[in-house]
Symmetry: C2
Subunit: 120 residues, 2 copies
Amino acid sequence: MPISDFFKSPHLRLKATLRIVGEDLPFFGPGRLQLLEHIEATGSINQAAKNMGMSYKKAWKMISSMNEQAVKPLIITQTGGSSGGGAIITDEGHEIMQYYQALHKRFETFLELESKNLSL
Amino acid sequence: MPISDFFKSPHLRLKATLRIVGEDLPFFGPGRLQLLEHIEATGSINQAAKNMGMSYKKAWKMISSMNEQAVKPLIITQTGGSSGGGAIITDEGHEIMQYYQALHKRFETFLELESKNLSL
DNA sequence: AATCGTTATATCTTTATGGATATAACGATT
DNA sequence: AATCGTTATATCCATAAAGATATAACGATT
């Protein structure tokens, strides 16, 4: 008897969030990936946060946390200048993004496979 | 270049918690499995919670949530009686426990494999 | 020097979560 | 009926997390 038959709701599924952590501090996860993607698109922490509906404070803390844990920063920020400043993703940042994206895809594949097993 | 070389801390690893969810309410996860294991061992929500260092309130909410989402309850409770009452795991509860345990093992295997990949 | 949008940071408030506490209901045993 | 340990439930409080707001520093451009 499939597990899904034990439940009232038909929307049964598996859920998990995958994070790279060091010493129990979160280092990289889905939220941070999305943030970096928005920073790359906008060149600004501020704009990225707004587009995501995230507070600047939270975005800045994420970036600070990542940069502090990394040997070389993943994001370089600049204050002042004609455009007021901005942020760019470093090569290291791009490498992490790519690594996590690929890892996350394998992870999702695993979850989807197991989710199907719930109802058979 | 392995991803772990980007980080100061040598304790880099992957972390994820796997949950069965329905309509975004948590239904079953590692905490609830552990709770059911303690209930099975003690026959009491109260004792199980104490042994886990969990408040009775939290334990009860978990049980209530599970039972409400399931077609047939996973835990049956009884109040009163010579021993004051108690709780037992139903057959359905045992099936979920077994299913989740096996699933979780596959999940952990995946994570361990990918964790090793971090440093090569 | 004045402007501008951004980064950087502090402070205050709000909200959510969990813990602690208290108490009633229960029912087999005595 | 009195006892006992448990379930069931409400209320209050403490702590933490998130949001809102304010402001200074910055530096290229004008």
